[in-house]
């Protein structure tokens, strides 16, 4: 199914601009994929189609698992998942304040500062929410 059928083109374009700004302003980002919560790409940054499709699906699974585990643990809604590796980090963030709800997956290399990455990703999510809710 074409993403255009489920995500308005204007929203996808705006989200793509937000991801590009996020990528420009944040050192170390390898790729970023914004997706629906059921794993379809909405916007991508530096990700080819085959990679972005996988990242969108995996990101939505990670986000759903994060929410399931926090729910089972009696905690409030999951905000973000951080995976640190020897060569970098992966973030999965839920964006539940907008409709449709979305997930953002970010892959960064080890040159990225995790604190900066988290702060910048949070700003990116907030800008996506503003763009979606204002559109």
């Amino acid at each position: 199914m074409n993403n255009a059928a489920r995500i308005p083109q204007k929203l996808a374009s705006t989200a793509t601009e937000q991801l590009a700004k996020f990528g420009r302003d944040t050192p170390g980002i390898g790729l970023a994929v914004l997706s629906t919560t059921d794993g379809f790409e909405v916007a991508t940054y530096k990700a080819e189609r085959a990679v972005s499709a996988k990242m969108a699906a995996m990101g939505s699974s990670l986000q759903a698992l994060s929410e399931a585990i926090t729910r089972e643990a009696g905690l409030k809604a999951a905000r973000k998942l951080i995976i640190e590796s020897d060569n970098g980090a992966v973030l999965a963030l839920g964006i539940n304040e907008c409709k449709p709800a979305m997930s953002l997956v970010v892959v960064a290399d080890k040159s990225a500062s995790l604190g900066h990455l988290l702060w910048s990703a949070k700003l990116c999510c907030a800008s996506v929410v503003r763009a979606v809710n204002g559109s």
Partner: protein, 185 residues
């Protein structure tokens, strides 16, 4: 941890086949769900869809604890099926018999199951297919024969606990009888 024997079973099958419903029908605990809003109404017209896993648990009369895992149905979540099938000793393949692509789904999912080494014991449940001699069941049996497989197959309503228990108990019987893939092929 428990001293009682434990089994890991995986419910798999295409989107909308009833995996989440089947696990909820027999689990002793409220299942762990990872359902989200379904934005792909063209693929299947339902409100929500599983994107990571379902998890439930069932205690059999002999004390055996069965851990029930459900996979997402869509191909893009195939990586979750690979993860969830690790260590599974049995697979319940659910199909929606009302869909035109039921046999193609059977073929696709069996292809994945047969690639597992060793191939776990497998039972097939077909829902929404009407009578026990429904054409889809006949075609499915014929397809299994063509593949050289003799797998138990039942018409089921996954909302009914007894129907889903039948699938699980059949699988447990196969395992107890030592019916590995060699005897099923």
């Amino acid at each position: 941890m428990t001293d009682m024997p434990e089994l890991k079973l995986v419910f798999t099958g295409p989107m909308g086949a009833g995996k989440t419903t089947a696990i909820a029908a027999i689990s002793d605990m409220a299942p762990v769900l990872t359902d989200v809003a379904n934005s792909d109404r063209a693929a299947f017209d339902k409100d929500s869809t599983t994107v990571a896993l379902d998890y439930g648990q069932l205690s059999l009369d002999d004390g055996t604890v069965v851990r029930l895992y459900g996979t997402p149905g869509q191909e893009r979540f195939g990586f979750m099926r690979t993860i969830l099938c690790r260590g599974a000793i049995g697979i319940i393949l659910l199909l929606d018999g009302s869909r035109d692509d039921a046999i193609s789904s059977l073929d696709d999912f069996l292809g994945g199951i047969r690639k597992l080494d060793p191939m776990p014991a497998t039972v097939i449940g077909v829902g929404r297919c009407g009578s026990s001699d429904a054409p889809v069941l006949v075609r499915a049996k014929h397809h299994l024969q063509q593949l050289g497989l003799t797998l138990p197959m039942f018409r089921v309503d996954v909302r009914r606990r007894e129907d889903v228990l039948l699938l699980v108990e059949t699988l447990v019987c196969l395992l107890e009888a030592g019916a590995g893939p060699e005897t099923m092929q």
